[in-house]
Symmetry: C2
Subunit: 373 residues, 2 copies
């Protein structure tokens, strides 16, 4: 069944549609579109696409250093101010095309077809790009929403369990951030456990409608939308500190567990807050189990010194404060400023240790810093 | 005397102030600002600026390939989301800082202090950046207006005659594009011939107020603002076809002459239009004379094959039409679509020959293209 809703952004409204067979339809209806596609997905393209460019969807390619190559590729496809791009792929493709479309001849329109569950349930709306520079993750980026988002659920068939789980982590994060009512509805939707396309479509559309609230009220990440960083500061650090050995979605799931532990240590939660926190924790652990029994145990140990160095480097912190999103009171999320000192750093290290212990991923402990305050 | 007005953009309002001594004041009032400055102008910086980054203001540095270097430089200065940049320099510095400020952590605020007359009288408002990619001039760019524009007329003392003349070409272009009344006022302001700071300040503020009309009515270059490309398509081609042997402002002056010749050949002008056209032509020739008698005659001959190849490559053209701005009727500018064929190409070549002959710059004629329509 096809389902749609609209998102309002500063540059206009765009429609989000989900269903089956959207790719074939959009190509048939817009033969002149220039397709930019994840190289691994080229086989899904219907015949008759004359202008296309395929990109290896790897982290190294979503870097400012690689943008000239993509821009020149677009030029070789004859892209001009009247062109319209169709981007097909996950987060890396979205970041690259958001960025390039926003600067190519000072901005051309594009349509986005997310192919990962994370893209479908979360990042496909909002219009943000995140681009690396000389190894600094997401140091630059911008806002350039697509003209339309088309979610073809057939791409779910191309995903492995880790990708599905990662997408569900972002989905539950959004619904949890939106408030308890939305979170409980999400758990009902997702509790069946079957992850077939129709169930996933329902979960995807619930998460996107919840996210729509955040991005319409705070398009430019000033206040409410910052709560969607729940799990991200801790998760990014783990991702980066393990040389991107785990996917972003999985890292966010683990990051939410770390944030919950931190809130627990600080006794920020009421009894109700503890209960909701436990619901979320159980959901996350249940999904992690789907990745298989050796998903973590077979990995090299995490070097917590490295993870904490990455945490410390996060661009969201201020000079004197770490900025983290965590649950408080009855479980609602807040953006908190924690003193940026050695004591807090070691507390955070302890939360990572505790979570890694729970999920069965070995680690090397972080050493206290010399001369630290 | 200090003088101010406001410009309204999609991202808010910003104030444009001109006068003497603005640099010293802004540094004294905002010691925390991170200064990005044209390396040649560092000597003008007052003592006490602790965070600064100097950039060679050369064409090669306003390229997408060089942006990572600037971004990393900002990071080394400790720039974060709460930082404010102060950019001091001409068009190259403005392009680099507009671009970098717009993407650094998805956008940080900046203040612009133009130091060339072209920057003061034209490009400092509007918020556009133009950035080269692998030798394709201005293939990418974006919009990210400054929080404030401070025009310190003391920088006029750092300019050579060519830079002053180039700035006046952009200034007269704006006033001509705005309409005959504005053009006549401009000629009165500028006719004294003295180019001392107080006169220039009057001319600068007149041009900027005229430009304000264009950018407020058409911030994103959809319609009215396109008329400000008068002289630019022909001028860019000459600039690029001579390996940037002349400055942008001078090229625009010559480009306006070419556009006028083209309008003349097409008999687009009424008697009144011819008269106004002659006024503009005389003003341009008068300024070119200020560059000195050997300014053009001492140069290598222009290769018109190269210039026409660059003209043909301009991103503003459509597949079947050249897009040029030229005067029509009583002299008002229009954006025109001319058939993109060999006959028109050779006509354009003839206009370049005629103008280059008038100003005493030798050239090699363009050869007809083989197999051309």
């Amino acid at each position: 069944m096809r389902e749609s809703f609209e998102v309002t952004s500063s540059t206009g409204r765009y429609c989000v549609t989900s269903g089956i067979g959207l790719l074939a339809d959009v190509i048939a209806e817009n033969p002149g579109m220039v397709v930019v596609i994840d190289a691994r997905l080229e086989k899904y393209l219907p015949a008759g696409v004359s202008r296309k460019m395929s990109i290896d969807a790897i982290e190294a390619n979503k870097s400012l250093e690689h943008m000239p190559e993509t821009i020149i590729g677009l030029r070789q496809q004859g892209v001009d101010r009247t062109s319209h791009l169709l981007a097909i792929g996950g987060g890396v493709i979205q970041d690259i095309v958001t960025f390039c479309a926003s600067i190519y001849m000072r901005g051309i329109p594009w349509t986005y077809m997310p192919t990962t569950l994370l893209g479908m349930a979360d990042s496909c709306i909002g219009g943000k790009s995140s681009v690396n520079v000389q190894g600094f993750k997401n140091l630059v980026g911008n806002f350039h929403p697509p003209s339309a988002v088309l979610i073809d659920m057939e791409f779910v068939g191309s995903l492995d369990p880790e990708q599905v789980v990662g997408g569900l982590f972002e989905a539950v994060k959004i619904c949890y951030a939106r408030g308890n009512e939305e979170f409980q509805e999400f758990l009902l939707d997702a509790s069946g456990g079957a992850l077939a396309a129709p169930d996933l479509q329902r979960v995807v559309m619930r998460a996107l409608r919840a996210k729509k609230w955040f991005i319409e009220i705070d398009e430019f990440d000033q206040k409410e939308r910052l709560l969607l960083n729940f799990g991200h500061t801790f998760g990014h650090a783990l991702e980066a500190g393990t040389s991107f050995g785990i996917s972003h979605g999985i890292a966010v799931g683990i990051g939410m567990l770390v944030a919950q532990k931190y809130a627990g240590r600080k006794k920020w939660l009421s009894a109700i807050g503890e209960e909701r926190s436990a619901q979320l924790r159980m959901y996350i652990h249940g999904l992690l189990a789907r990745c298989g029994p050796e998903f973590f145990s077979s990995r090299s140990p995490v070097d917590l010194n490295l993870v904490l160095a990455k945490f410390d480097n996060d661009k969201k912190h201020r000079r004197d404060f770490y900025r983290v999103v965590a649950p408080r009171g009855d479980g609602a999320l807040e953006l908190l400023s924690e003193p940026r000192n050695e004591a807090v750093r070691l507390e955070i290290a302890a939360e990572y240790e505790s979570v890694l212990g729970d999920i069965g991923w070995r680690y090397h402990r972080a050493a206290p810093r010399k001369n630290a305050a």
